[in-house]
């Protein structure tokens, strides 16, 4: 595929002028649920003309805007920052706005369903409250004692690096809703709450680590983790979630011995 710059340019121009030539027909198979119509959830297929370089979110938009306005899903930023559009795409938890059609075999029907382990309210929208409850329970804010410093709290680059990975969380719930322990027992704190506790436990400026460790030492805390690694696979931010959980476990053990 070696083409001269000139030729490439003209091809690109051609393609731009003839937009339709890019597109392929895809089937979006969406798990629909509307409690105002039926108590059963059903699969519904939508045929779409899409550019394979577009994202699943674009396909959902196309359905909602052009075919069926009743389709319900959350999205806000559309750029992988707000964490509102985690869903189960082809059986794996992903952000619809970060999943390109070409990366998930658009030749076959693409299944899209709500994330598991949380109550489905309508179509792809779930009740996130239990997820945020677990998040609040680990006290995800800086805890200090003594007087406030007059200047910023200084931290070395190494100390900052210690918890860098877990600062990236966008609270999308992809990890927690991929965890089989959470599916079976919603009282488990879940990976996301532990990740966000980790972010403060290992922050040298924070002084509430002991309290957070005590909370996660609970019977529904870190010890319920069975190292399945589903959370690490699911995280759209590439956070090593399972590793963070193990680090909290290790901190709990070294604290005792």
């Amino acid at each position: 595929m070696s083409t001269s710059t000139l030729e490439k340019h003209s091809k690109a121009l051609d393609a731009a002028e003839d937009g339709a030539s890019h597109t392929i027909t895809i089937t979006l198979r969406i798990r629909r649920f509307n409690p105002e119509v039926s108590e059963d959830a059903t699969w519904q297929d939508f045929q779409l003309e899409m550019d394979p370089k577009e994202r699943v979110l674009d396909a959902l938009h196309k359905v909602k805007w052009e075919q069926d306005g009743t389709l319900t899903f959350r999205r806000s930023c559309a750029h992988g920052i707000c964490g509102s559009d985690a869903m189960r795409i082809n059986g794996k938890n992903r952000l619809a706005c970060k999943t390109l059609l070409k990366d998930i075999n658009p030749e076959k029907p693409i299944t899209v369903e709500a994330i598991k382990g949380l109550t489905v309210l309508k179509d792809l929208v779930v009740d996130m409250e239990p997820f945020f409850q677990a998040y609040r329970d680990v006290m995800p804010f800086l805890i200090t004692t003594g007087n406030q410093p007059t200047r910023e709290r200084l931290q070395s680059a190494e100390d900052r690096e210690r918890f860098d990975d877990t600062t990236k969380c966008i609270l999308c719930a992809a990890c927690t809703s991929s965890c089989p322990v959470f599916w079976n027992d919603g009282q488990y704190f879940g990976p996301a709450a532990i990740v966000n506790a980790h972010r403060f436990i290992f922050d040298s400026r924070d002084e509430g680590g002991e309290q957070r460790l005590e909370i996660l030492n609970d019977k529904d805390g870190v010890w319920r983790c069975r190292t399945t690694f589903n959370c690490t696979d699911a995280c759209p931010r590439g956070i090593e979630v399972t590793k963070a959980i193990q680090e909290v476990k290790r901190a709990l053990i070294t604290r005792r011995f």
Binding site: S38, D45, D68, G221
Partner: protein, 156 residues
């Protein structure tokens, strides 16, 4: 353009409408206000540690056991009353079997406790399954211990 696999609305008269929505499906054991707060014990931590430590010891004990019983020196065909009596004549094998019995039983029981915690949905089911498990574990451990210590090679 849309090809539907299933009609979104049933042909039959729908039971549900805006004022009367269908019940949503709650996931098992939701975290609620009534969920007890921290347990303030280290039981789960010790349980977790025990699984790993006993696991390491069990690798040696169980694999050694299987090797001796089933592979070396003629395999299974050698096993009989005389073989067992001969082995338990030595305190070394008595201790080996005793430690293996206790570790494997407690390890297995704690593992099954985890499985029950994971899969039993109703509090009652979970409680009774665990009671059954604990009873069976205590019974097996005590019976095994009793046999190891009171074994009589001259029994008729």
């Amino acid at each position: 353009m849309s090809a539907e696999t299933t009609p979104a609305v049933n042909d039959s008269v729908s039971l549900y409408d805006v004022d009367n929505p269908a019940p949503v499906i709650e996931p098992p054991r939701k975290r609620t206000k009534k969920t007890p707060k921290t347990t303030r014990t280290n039981f789960e931590m010790y349980g977790w540690l025990f699984m790993r430590l006993s696991g390491i010891v069990l690798v040696v004990l169980v694999l050694g056991h299987l090797l001796l019983q089933l592979v070396l020196d003629g395999g299974v065909s050698k096993i009989g009353f005389a073989f067992v009596a001969g082995r338990w004549a030595s305190p070394f094998w008595q201790v080996w079997d005793l430690v293996m019995l206790w570790l494997a039983m407690l390890h297995g029981a704690n593992g099954l406790r985890t499985v029950i915690n994971d899969y039993a949905q109703r509090d009652n089911t979970r409680f009774w399954l665990k009671m059954l498990l604990y009873t069976a574990t205590v019974f097996t451990v005590l019976l095994g211990t009793l046999v190891i210590f009171t074994f009589d090679p001259n029994i008729r």
